[in-house]
């Protein structure tokens, strides 16, 4: 919960700073003052999506380790069945 509060307060501070800058400067008011911040937000979202896509493409699957893991699971199940513990989920 504290993380969300921290992020929201940071966002509020940045927008207050931006609006203060706008009031002080000599930019003509209207729609176009919002264009640059929105562009940055959109590019940030695009960058995040790109990183997710790239990570998905390069994710390693390790097939030998998967096989070894299956062997280990079968061995452990066998061991526990002989000791009398209920392992039935097959």
């Amino acid at each position: 919960m504290k993380h969300i509060v921290k992020i929201l307060s940071l966002l509020l501070a940045v927008s207050a700073f931006w609006i203060g800058l706008l009031q002080a400067a000599i930019i003509h008011p209207g729609y176009n003052t919002w264009l640059l911040p929105i562009y940055f937000v959109v590019s940030l979202g695009c960058y995040g999506l790109l990183m997710v896509g790239l990570g998905l493409m390069q994710f390693p699957t390790c097939p030998q380790e998967a096989l070894l893991l299956q062997h280990d699971i079968a061995e452990a199940k066998d061991f526990f069945k002989h000791k009398g513990v209920d392992v039935g989920s097959d």
């Binding site: 729609y31 929105i38 896509g53 493409m57």
Partner: protein, 80 residues
């Protein structure tokens, strides 16, 4: 299935790259192009460059909060 993962990853990155280039063109390059160039046909008027991201961002945030609210309600009902 790493092939399915690769395909989804490729799709995501291509979508994000195309959105980024289209939006960059729209916002940054197009104001400096003469208004009777043919390229203006492929881009909506500039007012939409603000409306579309804001609208989709607001929709996304409201959907997220609805989802979080539903999950919270469901967990509270299960506890009680």
């Amino acid at each position: 299935m790493e092939l399915a993962d690769r395909a989804v990853g490729l799709l995501l990155s291509s979508i994000s790259l195309s959105i980024f280039t289209y939006y960059t063109f729209w916002v940054i390059i197009l104001p400096f192009v003469d208004s009777d160039h043919f390229i203006h046909k492929y881009f909506l008027p500039q007012d939409y460059a603000i409306l579309v991201p804001v609208f989709s961002g607001v929709t996304l945030l409201s959907l997220l909060s609805v989802f979080i609210g539903m999950v919270m309600l469901k967990s509270k009902k299960k506890k009680a």
